[in-house]
């Protein structure tokens, strides 16, 4: 039993998982409140990553930033969160709100259009080159925890910590504040909430803002820990984030967090062990399939996910 490898894979899995959890949270929140799958969510992550990159460039570049590294990171996160929050609000206002009464398929197609538009706009404005955060220049890779088999770069720690802090903050928001109560009420029954005096439109807008802000933060974290970003990266994170949301129970916040970590670990472990498991028949190329299979199994066996409640349709 190669403990070194296992420990390393677990660390990778938790890193990936934190990011997926942030993305899944946004998905879950939006689905919970509008029963809408925001297929453009992954591209919001991508825009967040580019905003972060822009901030680095604006503040002097990764080799020699004008401010301390931790200030830089905080600024990037803030900029991405605010920027993507507003982007999410705009998407809701212009692509989804006109379709509230349309057949279910309509906002999904609109989401496809938004996704396509965002990807190609970024391609147009920034080119096809992979852009790099050059995080390895920002903070050297060997700075971090080195304890036995555990070798963790400090940026990974920052990523995991930030993700957890944001998730905790969201949890507090949803359970302790009035806004959170309004969000839960709207998610439960939109019309009843409206009748109870909740300004449903504003709640929806705020939900989109928060969900997209989390996605933007995820984008910056991805750029930090993995280095390079490009206009097409959103697709993968959208897919994994969606899987995580479904596995955890779509519409459920603890479910999204759990689902994210689960999928992140599945991702890392499958790359690490798939060859051993299949005795060399399948290479690491097929590790993506493992995640698909997990999703399909869940969809067929337990579509409400781990933390979700089976949905009963009342006629």
């Amino acid at each position: 039993m190669d403990w070194d490898k296992l420990v390393q894979l677990l660390v990778n899995g938790v890193t990936l998982g934190s990011v997926y959890a942030l993305v899944a949270l946004g998905f879950s929140m939006i689905y919970g409140i509008l029963k809408l799958l925001n297929l453009a969510h992954g591209d919001v992550v991508m825009v967040g990553a580019f905003i972060g990159w822009g901030v680095i460039g604006w503040l002097g570049g990764a080799q020699d930033p004008n401010v301390a590294v931790w200030i830089l990171i905080v600024l990037m996160l803030l900029a991405a969160m605010v920027g993507c929050g507003f982007l999410g609000v705009a998407i809701e206002r212009f692509a989804y709100r006109p379709l509230r009464r349309a057949p279910r398929i309509a906002p999904l197609i609109s989401a496809l259009g938004v996704s396509f538009f965002l990807q190609n706009s970024v391609l147009l404005l920034f080119g096809a080159d992979f852009r790099s955060y050059e995080a390895f220049d920002l903070v050297d890779v060997e700075v971090g925890i080195s304890w036995g088999p555990l070798n963790v770069w400090i940026i990974r720690i920052i990523v995991i910590a930030s993700a957890f802090v944001m998730m905790a903050g969201l949890w507090l928001l949803v359970t302790r504040t009035k806004l959170g109560k309004a969000m839960r009420a709207t998610a439960f029954d939109r019309e009843a909430a409206a009748m109870m005096g909740v300004d449903v439109d504003r709640v929806i807008v705020k939900t989109f803002f928060i969900g997209s802000a989390l996605a933007g933060a995820a984008g910056v974290l991805v750029g930090l820990v993995f280095g390079s970003i490009n206009h097409f990266m959103g697709f993968n994170y959208g897919l994994k984030g969606f899987t995580a949301a479904v596995v955890g129970g779509i519409g459920s916040i603890p479910g999204a967090m759990f689902g994210g970590l689960f999928i992140g670990l599945a991702d890392a472990l499958s790359v690490g062990y798939i060859e051993d498991f299949t005795r060399g028949r399948l290479g690491s190329a097929f590790s993506d399939l493992v995640v698909f299979l997990i999703l399909i199994v869940f969809m067929l066996v337990r579509p409400q996910g781990i933390f979700g409640k089976p949905e009963v349709k009342k006629v």
Binding site: R101, P103, G113, F116, L125, L239
Partner: protein, 482 residues
């Protein structure tokens, strides 16, 4: 309708509103509705002929190999769009894995007629076989649909597509990303088809056959059942319709059509690659179906022709401006109410542009330069009218620095903001500078990268269509009854 057409005509007709009746009579006598009636009353074969005729005479009008290739690609897209229309337009299922069936058809052709496979089957046997196999695949993919609601189904189908692509890239039988490049030409009843014209007619014949089949299917009980299912699944189920089986049929038929399209696509290209079947293709086909009108045979055909035609024309900078300004003009005409408004706005924009151009030329000449990109006549005219700041774009068309990028973002924000303006007058006023800005952004940024710009336009088109006219050009308006 009167109860009694006796001599006492003054007796008010029961159940009839005079004013409504007279209005209806007036409309019925108008040219548009008389034409519509004539079209509706025409027998189906005539309508089919009318639809197929432009395609049939196309080869006689063009003699360039390039245009023939575009024509063949368009026909293949038309077939694809019809396949998607079955699943999305008729049954109402969001199938995001549709292009995988296209790929299955193409690779099956490679398995039946290539040097690699070592066999060369006649198309008369191969194509029906491929259609059946693709339909079977559609059936399999549709199996989860019985338990899944629309949104989840979309994702499962998307995953299926990813699965298919991963297999294609990594399996040994598919030769990986290199694809299979030594396909034999299509052999129909012993005759090998090697010319572009030949393939065009094969595609046309397939089109006619498939459309007839789809038309008959739509008129049949299955078609009616699909329509019922699309409108309200629960009600259909309660009416004892076999909802599960109907959905599977929808998947299977759509997949079969895609398979045939793939079987024609493969010999035309002469090779198959995994990269042929990607998400960009999927979204393009969706745009065709949505633009034309999901559910309408004519609409989908028109949508495919329009979108593929525009994509081709927007491929390089020479023709792109025609399309862009043409789309702007048409959008204005379509969206502004009294018929004279679009022209007023265009006129005002031209004047506004002249003024700004003159002011800029005097104040800061570096803002007004020569044509950088775009070689057509319309570009030369317009480049004398827009602002062309120097050095905001590299030779390859990439924005250097933030001027270009902010202008683009500003344009998007302005256009969106305009939709929020309530007052019609202010909207017209606001349109003028926005249109000018759009022309500037086009001339500086978009036309420098026409290949990317057209995808941006398609994305925007999809969103705009769904927001303003989800039924597309020829579709029927649908209302969700909750």
């Amino acid at each position: 309708m009167s109860l009694d057409q006796g001599p006492e005509q003054e007796q008010p007709r029961i159940g009839v509103d005079e004013w409504v009746a007279s209005a209806e009579e007036r409309r019925a006598r108008s040219l548009a509705s008389r034409a519509q009636d004539a079209i509706d009353r025409a027998p189906a074969p005539v309508k089919l002929l009318a639809l197929a005729a432009p395609f049939a005479i196309f080869p006689l009008l063009v003699d360039s190999a390039y245009l023939m290739q575009v024509g063949i690609d368009t026909l293949i897209f038309v077939l694809l769009a019809h396949g998607l229309n079955v699943a999305v337009g008729w049954v109402g299922l969001l199938d995001l894995g549709f292009v995988a069936f296209f790929g299955i058809g193409a690779y099956l052709y490679a398995a039946l007629a290539s040097e690699y496979a070592g066999r060369h089957w006649d198309a008369a046997i191969a194509i029906p076989l491929i259609a059946a196999a693709a339909a079977a695949a559609g059936f399999l993919v549709g199996l989860p649909s019985r338990r899944l609601v629309g949104d989840y189904l979309a994702i499962v189908t998307l995953f299926f597509l990813q699965l298919w692509l991963v297999i294609l890239v990594n399996a040994s039988w598919s030769r990986g990303p290199n694809g299979i490049s030594d396909l034999y030409p299509l052999q129909l009843f012993g005759q090998q088809i090697t010319s572009l014209d030949g393939y065009f007619y094969v595609a046309l014949v397939a089109f006619v056959l498939i459309i007839s089949f789809l038309y008959l299917l739509n008129q049949s009980r299955t078609g009616r059942a699909w329509r019922a299912l699309r409108e309200d699944e629960l009600a259909a189920e309660l009416m004892t319709m076999p909802v599960g089986r109907l959905k599977l049929m929808g998947f299977a038929v759509g997949a079969g059509v895609a398979g045939v399209a793939g079987a024609i696509f493969a010999p035309v290209q002469g090779a198959v690659f995994p990269a042929n079947f990607d998400l960009v293709l999927l979204i393009t086909v969706y745009a065709m179906v949505v633009l034309g009108g999901a559910g309408s045979l004519v609409g989908v055909t028109v949508g495919a022709v329009l979108i593929n035609g525009s994509l081709e024309a927007l491929r390089d900078a020479d023709n792109a401006s025609w399309i862009f300004y043409g789309i702007v003009v048409i959008a204005l005409i379509a969206l502004l109410r009294p018929w004279w408004q679009p022209f007023a706005v265009i006129g005002a924009t031209l004047v506004f542009g002249f003024v700004v151009h003159e002011v800029a030329e005097q104040a800061r000449p570096s803002l007004v330069g020569e044509t950088v990109f775009g070689g057509s006549r319309i570009d030369e005219l317009i480049d004398a009218w827009v602002l062309l700041p120097q050095d905001i774009v590299t030779q390859d068309g990439l924005p250097t620095g933030w001027t270009g990028r902010l202008a683009y973002i500003g344009l998007v924000a302005a256009v969106l903001g305009l939709t929020l303006v309530r007052s019609r007058v202010w909207r017209m006023v606001g349109l003028v500078p926005v249109l000018y800005l759009a022309a500037c952004v086009w001339a500086n940024l978009l036309i420098a990268q026409p290949a990317v710009a057209r995808y941006v336009l398609i994305g925007a088109l999809l969103v705009g269509l769904m927001a303003y006219r989800p039924e597309g050009i020829f579709g029927k308006q649908r209302v969700e009854i909750v």
